[in-house]
Amino acid sequence: MSLLFLIPLLPLLGFAINGLAYPKLPKQIAGIIGTIPPLVAFALSLQLFLNFDGQTQILPIADWIKVGSLEIPFAFQIDQLSILMLLVITGVGTLIHVYSIGYMSHDAGFGKFFAFLNLFVFFMLILVLGANFTVLFIGWEGVGLCSYLLIGFWNQKNSYGDAARKAFIMNRIGDLGFLVGIFLLIQDFGTTDYQTIFTAIQSGDYTTDLSIIAFCLFIGAMGKSAQIPLFTWLPDAMAGPTPVSALIHAATMVTAGIYMVIRANTLFEMSPEVLHFVGWIGLATALLGAAIGLFQNDIKKVLAYSTVSQLGYMFMGLGASAYTASFFHVMTHAFFKALLFLGAGSVIHAMSDEQDIRSMGGLKSKMPITFITFMLGTIAIAGIPPFAGFFSKDEILASLYHHDPLMWGLAIVGSALTSFYMFRVFILTFYGEFRGTEKQAHHLHESPITMTLPLIILAVFSVGGGLINLPHFAGGNEFLAHWLAPLLPEAGEAGEVNFLSLEGGAPLLAAFLPAFLAIYVFGMQKSVPSEDAEISGIQKVIYHKFYIDELYDMLFVKPIAFLSNFFFQVIDFLVIDLFVEGLGRFVKYASSEFRRAQTGNVGIYLFCMVAAIVVILFVSLKSTILS
């Protein structure tokens, strides 16, 4: 337990070494220095997991902010939730570091890349280890910074830089909500400590409306976890190198919002209307993301919208108080979405940086490992049993069925869309004829072992990840539910699922039928999505992401730019300064008028002097004279 502090410290150290030594350190050494910290941190986390005795532990590290009665220490909390998050972050993190050794091998910024990745892991670990909302906020904003740095990693391209800034700024909008939530917590509880706050809530020891606090915190989650209306940064974030998309924009950072809600479930349980809102935001985002994903032709964009959509599912689960199910999906999603992104990266690597699936096809034989692992990932996300995604998504759906049948029905529709767009991408990429250039065809190759090994490991987890919380009907013991139970409210168990009923059958149909449809359309009919210019109607609207970016541009970006110029050129220069300088000119004018009194004629001066003396004498002697 005493080695716990090493878990976040090692990645920080890795960041420091690689950051300071860049660019002098040779690539091989930089890669090793970057990969060892998450690996050792994983081993330590595993040890922590195996030796955990079920008791929540608070580890104070140091004082931080101390003003008046407000005390915010650096402190870590070790419990069931943080331990699992440690495992996911360091586990998936290590695999992605290994993968990056291969993927980034030709990049000049290799050492810098590993420095940033390590810094990200550090902040992500702080986020989940924090024992209060403020330390969580350190990690929360810190991962946002790393996301910014890594999206804009290839900083020569302006559009990448724009995407990076967009991500940071949209996250900051959410962060303002989160910060207000923190202020409200301090107002009511005098602290941001989880335990103090949650104990107070459980004993009814609070005065403010908790739902306002929960709502503010959730605004933060909307930014970080890319939910409507703050989701448009995530697809653009694909500008970053693919390992970044896998680690930050799929497996870990974007699930921070879900982690936070689960962490604060005591608070959210007291705010049913907010939970309701969370569920519907999740549903809307899940459907929107899935719909846009249907028509995207950039392999990473499809996966990005898919992530937006899957995060929506997790929030739907939270909305139904199905915390275990949501967290289960966080974990399985981390496996299969990291796998899919890394698989996509492997394809992009082989295709000489081509990302358009219309130019791919027939890669099956050229890259067998990528092909098989990508297929397993596709099956997993589509929700086909007995792969990981089936169990976790099914649990969310089952809880929705009992919570709100309408939401359940719409979620099934989203599920069907997911299956379709994933098989579409899969078929178009790996089957049929190769549609790229001659040069690309010549260059096609399977990726090196550093890249395929992580794919294989993640594939194993994507297939078998369901075991983490295997339900009783499938012969499991619901490990995850039991493990998390001490932290969660009494769960409304979904009960046994009958696959012949609507509840059990619909998700299966939604997984299988669209998959077959996609295989038929793109595999057997061999149709290829049309060129951008030929798209029309509703499809065009969806392809352009419902023009939401344009809408935001019109509503926020342009007006602020206008205001900026207006304030600067009109208010500052004309209105305020005119007044200020007007005052100055008035003084100048007045003095020039008064100056005329100074005629230089000594006689007049003398006269004025005598007159003044008389007046002064009169005033001062007035009382004497009159009395």
């Binding site: 931080w64 990076a164 800034r165 207000v180 500052d572």
Partner: protein, 481 residues
């Protein structure tokens, strides 16, 4: 005696530089500022045990005394001043400025004026230094400034002088009410006297005092001298103005306005806070579209100081402590950022954001330090800026929910203009003027790297400063609550 030393030592050497015009003025100036820093550090170490003071008769017939003191509040400010001046001097290394000894002399003279304002325990002494500081900075800007410097520095001079006139009149008014044959301008006596005044009287006096400080900071709408002056002044002048001098305004509100006119603050504080918060948003929005990097930073500084002002006016411990901490953080960050812009200007002869780009390809250290300083400026957690802004925003939020949220928008807008500045200058394609951008020299690194380190250290160990100032702030709050 140590107080007298740290007050007069820079002026002494500065005058010598002005008179004798030695060749190695830079080295002398740097050594002076470092000795000053060491002496100040010693004073602060003493003051952390108990307040340090010095007193000698000044104009005994008028009850004025030359009294100086260092407590938790003034200690933070003299610490800031002593810390920043060596960096400001160091930024002039290897610059072949004509008449450098005069330049350095003025910088050191400025330091004495600034130290004096923070050290003064007699209100007229404070006023004296408050005004005296205008002279060296005026000459720095008027002699070494850029385009259109005469009109702009004249406006700056007259504007700030105009504001302090009301301050002086109000001060004399309270002074004449103090007991005793000779009266007194000792701050403690003024506290006692002013507290007995009616709410109406306090309201007027608050307005007169606050106007002077509002112009100095500046607070909306008294700011129009600031962007021009910051832009036209030589980089070191801008650093003195933004890093230290504007803190005379915030310090004045803490030291004089809050404890003297609690009823005035109760009546007018919210109005003043609203103006301050308007400045936060207004300045940030203007910064977004600025073309000149230096002017962008000027507006950014205007926005930051507005939040300090609003936090102080909340009168809460978080507000005052946050403001004190932010004064230090802002000082460190803003002089670093102005230096980055000067480095760019030295090499490219331009500060126009649209003309820059791709500098990171030539200078990795400049990019890294620039980014770290910027992160401090946008208040990312674990940077110094976060501690101050967190406490300040909380204090404003506790005082008035809506005002707090509006002020909070600064964390979004701040990111907008700061990241734009970074991207357009450091990233993207190399432009015609940034091609062959020379990497940082040793002297430039010697400034930027320690400043960047302070950004991080300040974000992790705030208790060194907060703990130092807390007892004095507690005492102050107890007095006016």
């Amino acid at each position: 005696m140590y107080l007298l030393f740290i007050l007069l030592f820079p002026l002494l050497i500065g005058s010598a530089l002005l008179i004798f015009k030695p060749k190695n003025a830079f080295a002398i100036s740097l050594a002076t500022s470092i000795i000053e820093l060491a002496a100040t550090a010693y004073v602060l170490q003493q003051a952390s045990l108990s307040p340090v003071s010095f007193s000698a008769p000044w104009v005994a017939e008028a009850g004025l005394s030359f009294s100086l003191y260092v407590d938790g509040i003034s200690g933070v400010l003299i610490g800031l001043c002593a810390l920043l001046v060596p960096f400001i001097v160091a930024t002039t290394a290897n610059t072949d400025r004509a008449n450098n000894s005069q330049f350095q002399g003025l910088v050191l003279a400025m330091q004495t004026a600034l130290m004096g304002a923070f050290l003064a325990k007699d209100a007229f002494l404070f006023y004296f230094f408050f005004e005296a500081s205008l002279l060296p900075i005026y000459f720095l800007a008027a002699i070494y400034g850029g385009e259109n410097k005469n009109a702009i520095t004249f406006k700056f001079f007259v504007y700030t002088l105009f504001g302090s006139l009301f301050f002086l009149i109000a001060l004399v008014y309270v002074y004449l009410l103090t007991p005793g044959e000779f009266h007194s301008a000792d701050i403690d006596v003024l506290y006692q006297t002013a507290k007995g005044l009616s709410a109406d009287q306090q309201g007027y006096l608050f307005a007169a005092f606050f106007l002077a400080f509002a112009i100095k900071m500046p607070v909306f709408p008294f700011h129009t001298w600031q962007p021009d002056t910051y832009t036209v002044a030589p980089a070191q002048g801008t650093m003195l103005l933004s890093g230290i001098m504007l803190k005379m305004g915030t310090y004045g509100v803490i030291r004089l306005v809050l404890p003297m006119f609690p009823l005035g603050v109760a009546t007018w504080g919210l109005t003043a806070s609203i103006l301050s918060v308007i400045g936060v948003i207004y300045g940030s929005i203007i910064a977004i579209q600025q073309k000149d990097a230096k002017r962008l930073l000027a507006y950014s500084s205007f926005a930051h100081v507005g939040l300090m002002s609003a936090g102080i006016l909340s009168g809460s411990i978080e507000g005052i402590q946050g403001a004190l901490y932010q004064m230090v953080s802002h000082g460190i960050n803003i002089i670093g950022l102005f230096f980055v812009i000067e480095i760019i200007e030295r090499r490219t002869k331009s500060r126009e954001i649209a003309q820059l780009g791709g500098i990171t390809q030539f200078s990795y250290p400049l990019t890294v330090t620039f980014v770290i300083l910027s992160l401090g400026s946008v208040a990312l957690p674990l940077t110094n800026g976060f501690i101050g802004e967190f406490l300040l925003l909380k204090s404003v939020f506790d005082q008035n929910l809506v005002l707090g949220i509006i002020a909070g928008i600064t964390i979004i807008l701040g990111a907008v203009y700061t990241l734009r500045l970074i991207q357009k200058s450091m990233f993207g394609n190399v432009s015609r003027i940034t091609a062959d951008f020379a990497d940082l020299t040793f002297a430039e690194k010697a400034v930027l790297i320690p400043l960047s380190a302070l950004v991080i250290v300040g974000g992790i160990f705030p208790s060194t400063v907060l703990g130092f100032s807390e007892p004095a702030v507690q005492q102050l709050i107890q007095w006016f609550k």
